[in-house]
């Protein structure tokens, strides 16, 4: 389903406000929807995404859970299994490590284990990524871990509009959907249609068309890639920027069509480069008929094989930045690799 725009006016919301609006719409229109998470009630959430929804819907539908991610996630899985539509928020995506049993062994597997007799319509939200000076245990990008688990869907909205539409689509899905939200995007503003609309969970979006190099980016890297593409355009290099949006499932058609056109692929993602999403996208291209169109080695730009450092200069240095993307795409377009 494409974006059903009720009102395409120029109203702008922040990414956090767009997510809150999606939850507000869901709470108002579907009595099965409940919010769960640590400090999402009176405190409004670690990143103030839930805000004052508790005032509107009360503590029965906006529930503070104890400081046990495993316990909270277990309750959410059980609630989803028995008829509710929970949206569970982790304070930091890093804390998902504590809830892996519930996510990987229960939420993702129950439909399969019980022969299709049940489903787990659970939505989980993960504030992720570096750039906030929160150091190694609060700055990771673990989305690829979840992308490795059949039974889960994993999306990474890069704009306020997608943040709202993907959350509403996730609630409509009968199976567990993991939403990775980059913390630095929460304050980013952009146009957001009013009312309910749904952004498909399995479609990438071409954010900028170009003919020379395909740049496949996720999350906040979409914006860095677009900035790089703007600079490169001034030099005569036309980069096509694809916002992958969903890393499970991958939108194979959009990526392959672009690579067939440009013959060059650069993948940009913040998570650790090794064994990451760029490896999967590269392999997908190499295994397809689009391979025959490649006219330069594939490039992956990802995070360094390092924990995220606390020192702000080092924190920037371990993840791809705009000049890195410019240099890589330029070298590819020049045939210098």
């Amino acid at each position: 389903m494409n974006i059903a725009v009720v009102d395409s006016g120029l109203r702008e919301l922040s990414y956090a406000e767009a997510i809150r609006e999606a939850m507000d719409i869901a709470l108002a229109t579907d009595p099965r929807v409940v919010l769960m998470g640590e400090d999402i009630g009176v405190y409004g959430g670690a990143f103030q995404v839930t805000g004052d929804l508790i005032d509107k819907y009360g503590p029965d539908r906006v529930m503070d859970t104890p400081i046990s991610e495993l316990g909270g996630a277990g309750v959410a899985v059980g609630a989803a299994l028995t008829g509710l539509r929970p949206i569970f928020e982790f304070q930091f995506s890093d804390f998902a490590t504590l809830a892996m049993e519930q996510i990987v062994n229960q939420a993702a597997k129950l439909r399969y284990m019980l022969g299709g007799a049940v489903s787990v319509p659970l939505v989980m939200r993960f504030p992720a990524g570096s750039g906030t000076g929160a150091a190694a245990q609060h700055s990771q990008s673990l989305e690829a871990w979840f992308g490795h688990v059949p039974g889960l869907k994993v999306v990474q909205p890069s704009t306020p509009q997608d943040a709202k539409g993907l959350l509403l689509a996730a609630l409509d899905d009968p199976d567990p959907v993991m939403i990775f939200e980059h913390k630095l995007l929460y304050k980013m503003r952009g146009p957001v249609p009013e009312g309910a609309y749904w952004v498909p969970l399995d479609k990438a979006e071409v954010r900028r068309t170009g003919t020379d190099v395909t740049v496949v980016a996720t999350g906040i890297m979409v914006h860095k890639a677009l900035e790089a593409a703007e600079v490169l355009a001034g030099e005569g290099i036309a980069a096509e920027v694809i916002d992958l949006r969903s890393i499970r499932p991958l939108d194979r058609d959009t990526v392959l069509a672009s690579v067939r056109k440009t013959g060059r692929l650069t993948c940009v993602y913040e998570a650790v480069k090794t064994l990451g999403i760029g490896a999967e996208v590269s392999a997908m291209v190499a295994e397809s008929d689009a391979f025959d169109y490649l006219d330069a080695p594939i490039v992956r730009l990802g995070g360094a094989d390092s924990p995220i450092p606390y020192n702000p200069d080092l924190e920037r240095a371990v993840v791809p930045q705009v000049p890195d993307i410019i240099a890589a795409v330029r070298d590819q377009a020049r045939g210098a690799l």
């Binding site: 020379d212 355009a233 001034g234 005569g236 330029r330 020049r334 045939g335």
Partner: protein
């Protein structure tokens, strides 16, 4: 394993050469970087440096024609056993010659024992065309055959080849490829061509929406550059001396940046792309003029000496601009490339990166693009500023510009 020494490609037409001197005797010691042998081609003699240190064995005979890429000696490390010449199996870096003018990329040819290095796109194109990749000379890194080396890219881009290409002169030597500026066309190069020897190969390319090239909507600089690159890729003439004037200069920079191995030398005449300022009203006036009376004053703004723009010249220029669709297409292009009287493209970093010999020629009385943009050029770029010249050095100082375009040996001939 000893290091192989191969006959390098030292000029672009070269397919074979003769060794005329060994600087190191058979079995003697040589250090890496020291002169090892001299080769002679149809055109020149070159000294080749040793790629490694050690003892030289299995030297090829003097005076015999050998193909480039042939192993002409082996260098053994001190103490390494010297047997019969080893098989030529591995691809090794090609020794660089000491000649500054040699093309930066030295093509590595393919022998029976090595699979050609080629991109998947090049392999598919060769399969489709029934072509043996081993017969294609690769222009990519380490001799890699790229898609463009196999043949013109058709089908991929239906618009390719829609730019007008006019070839003049002989076939020997490095061709000059001339790119005119906004609102220009092929005829603007005639005063310059009159100063070149008639044997000099010259290829004029008309930009999209100019002259007899196709009319097409341009959405930005990269769009225009892509059109140009598609045509450039089909020229099939080996490395060129690329010359661009004004907007053609910015495009020449972009083209050199993305096709560095196909451009042996670059000359920029009052190029755009090196700073934001441009005379917007003059561009609008030139493009929008519908009659000689309104075109004349703007043509005079192009040159230092307004008397160059005689009434008959202005009339002739206006006749070439009678077509309203051409003027409209150029106006659309100008609005995209020079919005609000600003140069939207920025080629300064491209100029910093380029490695081929580059010269910028500018008139100090240019009233269209400030000549001081030339001062952004890095130190390796030659700069020639003319005192009583405006925006058209190739017309106002045609003879002097022509001399800069000729290689030294031909310059002498042209004086005959």
């Amino acid at each position: 394993m000893p290091t192989e020494v191969i006959l390098p490609k030292v000029d672009m037409d070269m397919t074979s050469g003769r060794i005329v001197t060994w600087h190191v005797a058979e079995g003697a010691v040589v250090s890496q970087g020291a002169p090892l042998f001299d080769i002679e081609t149809d055109k020149a003699a070159m000294e080749v440096e040793s790629p490694a240190s050690g003892r030289v064995h299995h030297q090829a005979a003097l005076g015999i024609e050998v193909a480039i890429g042939t192993v002409v000696a082996w260098i053994y490390a001190e103490g390494e056993a010297v047997g019969p010449p080893p098989e030529h199996v591995t691809e090794k870096p090609v020794p660089r010659t000491s000649t500054a003018d040699a093309p930066r990329q030295i093509a590595v040819p393919h022998t029976d024992l090595q699979k050609p290095r080629a991109t998947p796109a090049a392999r598919k194109a060769a399969r489709d065309l029934g072509l043996d990749l081993a017969t294609v000379s690769g222009t990519g890194p380490r001799g890699r055959v790229m898609r463009g080396d196999v043949g013109p890219i058709s089908g991929l881009n239906a618009e390719s080849g829609t730019l007008a290409v006019i070839r003049d002169g002989g076939t020997r030597g490095v061709p000059l490829v001339l790119l005119h500026g906004l609102a220009g066309d092929r005829y603007g190069w005639e005063p310059l061509m009159a100063e070149l020897p008639s044997s000099q190969p010259v290829i004029r390319v008309e930009l999209p929406n100019h002259g007899t090239s196709a009319r097409m909507r341009a959405d930005g600089f990269s769009d225009v550059l892509r059109q140009l690159r598609n045509t450039f890729d089909t020229l099939d003439c080996g490395p060129v001396h690329l010359v661009g004037h004004s907007l053609g200069g910015a495009l020449a920079l972009g083209l050199s940046d993305t096709r560095p191995r196909q451009v042996a030398r670059l000359t920029l005449l009052a190029p755009s792309g090196l700073g934001p300022e441009v005379n917007g009203p003059a561009l609008d006036g030139l493009i929008g003029a519908t009659r000689a009376e309104s075109l004349g004053p703007w043509l005079k703004a192009l040159v230092a000496d307004p008397d160059l723009m005689t009434p008959s010249f202005v009339e002739a220029a206006m006749r070439l601009r009678q077509d309203a669709s051409l003027r409209a297409a150029q106006a659309q292009m100008a609005a995209v490339l020079f919005p609000d009287g600003t140069q939207a493209m920025d080629l300064t970093s491209a100029l910093d990166r380029l490695e081929m010999p580059t010269r910028i020629i500018w008139g100090r009385r240019d009233r269209i693009v400030p000549w001081k943009h030339a001062l952004r050029a890095p130190g390796r770029v030659s700069l020639n500023l003319f005192d009583n010249v405006g925006h058209l050095p190739h017309i106002e100082a045609a003879a002097a510009v022509a001399r800069f375009l000729m290689p030294a040996d031909q310059e002498v001939l042209s004086g005959d």
